[in-house]
Symmetry: C2
Amino acid sequence: MLSKEEISFLVKGFTHNDIPDYQMSAFLMACCFKPLNFQETLHLTHAMLHSGKTFDFSDIPFKKIDKHSTGGVGDKTSLILAPIVACYDVAVPMISGRGLGHTGGTVDKLESIPGFKMNLSFEEFQHHLKTLHFAMMGQTKDIAPADARMYALRDVTATVECIPLIAASIMSKKLAEGIDSLVLDVKFGCGAFMQKLKDAIELAKWLVKIGKSCGKKTIALVTDMNQPLGNKIGNSLEIEETIEVLKGQGPKDLIDLSLTLSGAMLTLGGISRSVKEGIALSQKVIRTGQALQKFKELIKQQGGDERVIESFSYLPSAKYTFEFLAPKAGFLTKINAWHIGKAASILGCGRETVTDVIDPSVGFILHKKVGAKVQKNDTLLTVCYNDEKKCAASMAELTQAFEIAPKKPHLTPLIQKILGKL
Amino acid sequence: MLSKEEISFLVKGFTHNDIPDYQMSAFLMACCFKPLNFQETLHLTHAMLHSGKTFDFSDIPFKKIDKHSTGGVGDKTSLILAPIVACYDVAVPMISGRGLGHTGGTVDKLESIPGFKMNLSFEEFQHHLKTLHFAMMGQTKDIAPADARMYALRDVTATVECIPLIAASIMSKKLAEGIDSLVLDVKFGCGAFMQKLKDAIELAKWLVKIGKSCGKKTIALVTDMNQPLGNKIGNSLEIEETIEVLKGQGPKDLIDLSLTLSGAMLTLGGISRSVKEGIALSQKVIRTGQALQKFKELIKQQGGDERVIESFSYLPSAKYTFEFLAPKAGFLTKINAWHIGKAASILGCGRETVTDVIDPSVGFILHKKVGAKVQKNDTLLTVCYNDEKKCAASMAELTQAFEIAPKKPHLTPLIQKILGKL
């Protein structure tokens, strides 16, 4: 059992370069084999959280609530729920990462809006929070710097997959944002970091317990990431779909998850008495156009071209399209999110390494989701591409992604579990 | 399961600074939790062995045999057996380490002989081997450099205690010496690296198996290191006791172990048909004075003052002595080698860190061993010291080292097991 002082000594020493990388990597590897217990993980979270700057928004007279997702293919819920929730008397200080892996992160998606600026100063961020009730910025080096450096070591020493380390990493960054409450979307399935439902539940439990121990109301949804979320995948395409949902359109799975998350946030913020009521309040601000207006104001405030709200022609779009057809008739039993994500990365939506440049305009549009009946040569997906070679290279992944069978598959709920007290 | 290529890539890359310390320390920590299997350990031994220079003594027309001990308090057997074995047609290319921990290593002991030079060139070492049949030198940076660097990392990342890593470390250095056969003394008990007999047996099995797989005849003795070996502890004091044994005197436990080891070496070298016969041949060269003469020649060849053979007054000696008395009558049931070693280190016999300077003249002379009947105020041990404060500081350890009880203790054999085929 490591004491609070020992863990703090390690993290502080590592952050200040007094403790070398080889010590930290040995510690991280030991953690993978003999996981930290809850108390140690809590100490680690605190130590990482206090390795850098922490925000204090106590002068903003609303509950500060954020949402974090462990990441998935086609997941643009943050972009949808933030303007919805911001229509009410809560504040959403959202600090997001760039994408590494299959698809872009929230930062990359927003940056596909011409002019949109993510690197806000603390003062700008605070100002937007006060005036708009929400603000979005990219992860900075000031926030939990120990986490960034520890993650870089974990990434190269095969020590990523360890629940206490994952939990401490997520929570240290989120707690540094000066929030009162947190809603987590912990994904499982082939397109998620956690492949198995039981591991996702386990991680969700740790996250909720850490949040609670730090005096923050925390709830976690455990959700299915076996097929992509929504129909559009790619940076500007996901901005399109965000706007569609805020206009009251868009695919059901994406609406359901986004509104359950916003409903939970409104409940934690004391605006609604239940998630159900929170969902109704969310639907209301979509119906009235307030949520869309909020999003438009965000774009304007952060220097983006607000005309994208009216016409997608102001968003970057790919030069060519290619229709990916069903090879046979039957029921769509699988759209493997991992293969779709890989194909998206090949196409240019994401980064394989930090130095890769993202193409904001490329991506996929799904025309069918799991459970749909398809005829031979029905369009399953449209590839939006600029580079023919990349399009061709993505085919190997796409052909592996779809499964068609004669029998209609059993459909499982998108939201499998909600953990934590509202 | 790691392949030969993977392990070789890691060790080679690490040796050439292409693979950073943090990767190696993560690997070493993983090895502690998920130990390498035998095949992997063999690959690791090979990779470490070939990380530097290997010796080739194929032009010396004798079997090249070495002995290695995992280290203990009062263990000067190498100094005794090497000149004994060298009286016959075998060659002993002995490369030893400096001591780190309680007492000095073989190198430190020999260096207590005024003028004795341990840093031989390869040519000098080879020349001594040809003319004297044995030579002693200190570990150099050329031999298995990967081991030195890996050990340094293990030392600071709590990854020392892992049998496959220990086995690869020992064998890589010994196999680099160009030997045909190897006799190992694997110690267990409170004064040894391995506390438990079963762990020492396990390590001995690994060592023998690696040696055999590399085409070297290897045998291992598993021996008791609960009380110090012999009666003298300290660098010049151990040279004294070495000379005493080579003169046919000295304590029984030290003679028994030294001659069993030399007997085993002579048997592996094809000189004797059994260890028993090897012991008899060893006794013979002590009786005739040949072994003592060999040791004298070694001292002369390596620049030392050979008059130490005739009179210990040529060896450095401590200024003061202090008699440590029995606090009560009874039987001596324990002389805790760990506490004696610690006391020796405090006195100046060993190093706590690599930069500590050893005092060659200080140490202890034991007057009683476990099982002896003692009267109150009998001298148990003489402290030979130069610095009164250090002498006083060593008392705390000495008082914990001795146990006296009314009943005669059950004595267990010094040599518990011999593993490997002769």
